[in-house]
């Protein structure tokens, strides 16, 4: 345990620099897969014409990109929370959160093909299609000030610059402290993080509205932003746990991160498992109970045929199983068990995003004739594999540039001596 043994003298002032070459094999494989995947994906996007494949692939791409957006946004949430609450426990892992948050610009970059190209965009968002062909119904007309193409792009630009900018600034201040050992960046980050939190909350809420809720422009829920946020914080904590473990297995962070940190991170993952369930249940329950047609349509679609089993899987897989598993202290203090839980959480979160996006695809593209598009699963696999490979490549490469923990943070001593 680091709590009694560790003293600051054991940690070099320049911190620990990760040699990316130790991950060279993974990086190489990710680069190859990601490269091929991006070429294939771009080929579909650019030369797919008006085909069903191109339209279906737009959904696959949105699913894959939004999945990684939630993880990166969660990373930013943890950095913000850490600064704003003046926490000490997580200094040892904060740089990893910062790296994760700095994946945000890339997720926006990857989203570009489906937002900029007309056919994919209109395949996803029916309201854009209706606007472009001039068939505006009363409901869409009522929403016109919000659902217009110009304002949509202004908003997307705002989210991209606001979130990426916050992530960039917070890591920049932290790195500045690495170089100078000055305490001021700590105060600066704390002060600004408090102000950034509302910007973060608004951005995450409305990007969830714009990219996911508007897949069906007639449906709405006030809880939607909170729902997406809950899954986002949960899955990013899982990535942080897995990253720490990967680094430790290659000889880094050995003295800085102890089982106490794993325990804390496990508790946070547990807490957000419950929080996600609370939000998901409340939303479902209130719509189910009131039984108003325009509200229940979201769930009716997802309880039709095969989607019903996916919905049921989420109840067990996203809540009951991780809840029961993580309830035990042992599961949070044993590296293998907590990593297994983290992998599971990432998997079920992927299913959650899939469950949000995909039921809209069949009815939208086939004008209500088919619930699912035959063979589209193959496209989904291409999209998720490509984006995962690209993200892993970028994420691991970002690890090597700076010390893997903020070595001159004024609260490092608190973090290495953490006792739960």
């Amino acid at each position: 345990m680091a709590d009694h043994g560790a003293t600051l003298a054991e940690f070099p002032i320049e911190g620990e620099r990760v040699e990316v070459s130790k991950f060279s094999r993974i990086i190489l494989i990710a680069a190859i897969i990601g490269g091929i995947g991006i070429v294939v994906s771009l080929a579909i996007f650019l030369f797919g014409g008006d085909s069903q494949v191109r339209k279906s692939f737009s959904y696959s791409w949105l699913f894959a990109c939004f999945y990684f957006f939630t993880i990166a946004a969660g990373g930013l949430f943890w950095v913000l929370l850490h600064h704003a609450s003046n926490s000490g426990w997580g200094i040892a892992v904060r740089r990893i959160m910062e790296h994760l948050a700095n994946m945000l610009p890339f997720t926006f970059l990857l989203l570009m093909p489906i937002l900029l190209l007309k056919t994919p965009r209109e395949a996803l968002y029916e309201w854009m299609h209706l606007l472009s062909i001039g068939e505006v119904d009363a409901l869409l007309a009522a929403k016109a000030p919000y659902l217009t193409l110009g304002f949509f792009f202004v908003r997307i630009l705002f989210y991209a610059f606001a979130l990426s900018g916050i992530a960039y600034l917070l890591r920049r201040w932290s790195l500045q402290q690495d170089r100078t050992g000055d305490v001021r960046p700590t105060f600066l980050a704390r002060r600004f993080s408090c102000g950034f939190i509302p910007v973060f909350a608004i951005s995450v809420t409305f990007i969830a509205v714009d990219l996911l809720m508007c897949l069906d422009y007639t449906w709405f829920s006030t809880m939607w932003g909170v729902y997406i946020f809950a899954g986002s914080a949960l899955s990013s904590m899982a990535v942080i746990i897995l990253t720490v473990t990967a680094l430790r297995s290659r000889g880094y962070l050995g003295k800085v991160v102890s089982m106490q940190h794993y325990h804390t991170m496990g508790k946070l993952m547990f807490a957000f498992t419950v929080f996600w369930a609370y939000i998901a249940f409340s939303q479902l329950f209130l719509y189910w109970y009131a039984k108003i047609t325009e509200e229940t349509k979201f769930y009716i679609l997802r309880n039709t045929e095969g989607w019903h089993f996916v919905s049921l899987f989420l109840v067990f897989g996203h809540f009951l199983v991780p809840f029961a598993f993580l309830l035990r202290q042992r599961a949070k203090k044993d590296v293998r068990q907590i990593c297994a839980a983290a992998v599971w959480v990432l998997f079920v979160h992927m299913i959650d995003i899939y469950w949000i996006v995909m039921p809209e695809r069949g009815p939208s593209i086939t004008k209500g004739e088919l619930l699912t598009i035959p063979g589209a699963l193959f496209l989904d696999v291409i999209a998720i594999v490509t984006v995962t490979a690209a993200m892993v490549f970028l994420y691991l490469r970002s690890m090597g540039k700076y010390s893997i923990y903020p070595a001159r943070d004024p609260r490092l001593h608190e973090s290495v001596r953490l006792i739960n």
């Binding site: 003293t7 600051l8 003298a9 054991e10 002032i13 000490g88 409901l139 009522a142 929403k143 919000y146 100078t180 050992g181 000055d182 305490v183 700590t186 105060f187 408090c194 509302p198 909350a201 809420t205 007639t218 709405f220 829920s221 006030t222 809880m223 939607w224 932003g225 909170v226 508790k267 419950v274 609370y278 939000i279 409340s282 939303q283 329950f285 209130l286 719509y287 109970y289 009131a290 108003i292 325009e294 001159r408 004024p410 609260r411 490092l412 001593h413 608190e414 739960n420």
Partner: protein
């Protein structure tokens, strides 16, 4: 800057602020807190207590008058079947949230600053829930039939509607109250034993001795106690969330425009914590002054609570804005009309009060000066107390006064009975709190001793020297 930072630029260290000021020893903590119970109460205590008793009398009279006459003495009318009674119920239940939040959730998240305020906040929780419980019990009209709320087998074979959120509310609130009482009492045991050991006379010693359950403070007792406390904290945490979520279901499961929205559960919980913390500060800021507890409830504590008020107030603001946005975006005419009525109709003054008090005024807490000026803190907390009452009034009354059928619209005015019943509950609440101060240790002595520097196994008394991480000799103040 509040924190002390060392001049070592190679590796700076920011020290945490002390939770107990002036390096008070453990004996001072015991004497100061036990002294409140053991000594005569200051004159001010009586100045406050006597009006509270009188207000309790008013409450008793109003309740008796209501039961003797019928609910017709209230201002309820046809569309507005829920007026002040349910507004007040939700208001008090909300206040009753901060205690268990401070005790349970802050305990689980290892927030040591909770120790100075958790006891009083828990007590406040219980008294607020008692005040809340009065309203659903009496609003049924035939008070003697209130036992029908409980699923007891009876001769007529009449059962409750288990599909009704109102019934879940009965279960949720009574479970919350029961667990809160147990949690509060378990936390009290070591301190009651301290009072027992210091008591000289018969009745006092016997009473504290009885309730201390034979506490001796042995190692084994502490081990069991701490495990029990942790388990109770873990049990209470979901209850904090569940109670107000279920209260929100009372509204949100219906199809009444303005009530039926998915964000209600977390929004109600955030609002309850918001209102609860404001009430904790409203009570504790005067109490720390009257009983000289400034070294225990420090500016740091008040600063932290002010920040929580800012955070939860802003979350509440987020919910208000989401409600407005989705009511417009959803395109449902009835929802749009409900919010148009709320913001621009006859009750718009209440909406303005609510929004100003709950969202705009707490933004003052962005400034450190405002969090450290007790007059401003008190003023903001008073606004929050009022604002949270208005929130419930706005939700309940404006939504049903003008619902689907314009021909059935009507206005609601509270009668004098409703007004004085509500005022009376303040007498009950404050009176019980004053009695609590009189008979129980207002701050958890055993817990606050646990966060003193001396409790740290690595603590070194002043004047002794040790070595720092780099091997340099330092004294225990961190000076080289």
């Amino acid at each position: 800057m509040a924190e002390a930072s060392t001049s070592d630029t190679a590796r700076p260290v920011i020290a945490r602020e002390s939770l107990v000021l002036n390096e008070r020893p453990m004996s001072w903590v015991t004497n100061r807190i036990c002294g409140i119970v053991e000594n005569r109460q200051p004159f001010l205590w009586w100045v406050l207590f006597v009006p509270c008793v009188m207000l309790m009398g008013v409450l008793g009279y109003c309740l008796a008058y209501l039961v003797a006459t019928g609910v017709g003495v209230w201002g309820n009318n046809h569309p507005v079947g829920w007026g002040w009674a349910i507004t007040n119920f939700v208001f008090w239940i909300g206040i009753g949230h901060a205690g268990t939040l401070i005790s349970a959730i802050l305990f689980l998240t290892r927030q040591k600053w909770r120790t100075s305020v958790n006891r009083a906040a828990e007590a406040m929780t219980l008294f607020a829930v008692i005040c809340a419980g009065i309203f659903p019990a009496i609003h049924v009209g035939r008070f003697w039939m209130v036992w029908f709320l409980a699923p007891v087998p009876n001769a007529n074979g009449i059962w409750q509607n288990f599909k009704s959120p109102l019934l879940w509310d009965v279960f949720a609130v009574s479970t919350y109250f029961t667990v809160s009482v147990i949690f509060w009492y378990v936390g009290l045991i070591p301190d009651l034993a301290t009072l027992r050991d210091r008591a000289k006379r018969g009745i006092r010693k016997a009473a504290y001795g009885f309730f201390a359950l034979g506490w001796r403070g042995g190692n084994r007792q502490w081990r069991h106690y701490e495990m029990a406390y942790l388990l109770l904290a873990a049990l209470s945490t979901p209850l904090v969330l569940s109670v107000h979520s279920v209260v929100s279901f009372d509204f949100a499961t219906s199809i009444v425009p303005g009530w039926h929205t998915t964000i209600f559960p977390p929004y109600f919980v955030a609002g309850a914590i918001f209102g609860g913390f404001a009430m904790v500060l409203t009570l504790m800021i005067p109490a720390r002054k009257i009983y000289g507890l400034q070294d225990l409830i420090t500016p740091k504590h008040i600063d932290n609570m002010a920040k929580i008020i800012l955070l939860t107030g802003t979350i509440v603001g987020y919910a208000y804005i989401m409600e407005l946005f989705i009511s417009w975006y959803g395109g449902n005419k009835y929802e749009q009309a409900a919010f148009a009525n709320r913001t621009g109709g006859y009750y718009s003054w209440a909406y303005v009060c609510m929004f100003t008090c709950n969202v705009i005024v707490p933004q003052l807490f962005w400034f450190r000066y405002c969090r450290h000026n007790l007059w401003i803190v008190m003023a903001v907390c008073m606004c929050v107390n009022a604002g949270m009452w208005f929130e419930r009034f706005v939700i309940i009354v404006t939504s049903i006064a003008q619902d689907f059928l314009p021909g059935a619209w009507d206005f609601y005015h509270p009668s004098w009975v409703e007004i004085w019943t509500f005022v009376g509950t303040f007498g009950l609440f404050l009176g019980l709190f004053l009695l609590f101060i009189r008979f129980f240790p207002v701050i958890a002595m055993s817990e606050i001793k646990g966060v003193l520097p001396k409790s740290d196994p690595h603590y070194l008394p002043p004047g002794t020297f040790t070595h720092d991480a780099e091997g340099r000799e330092i004294d225990n103040d961190g000076e080289q």
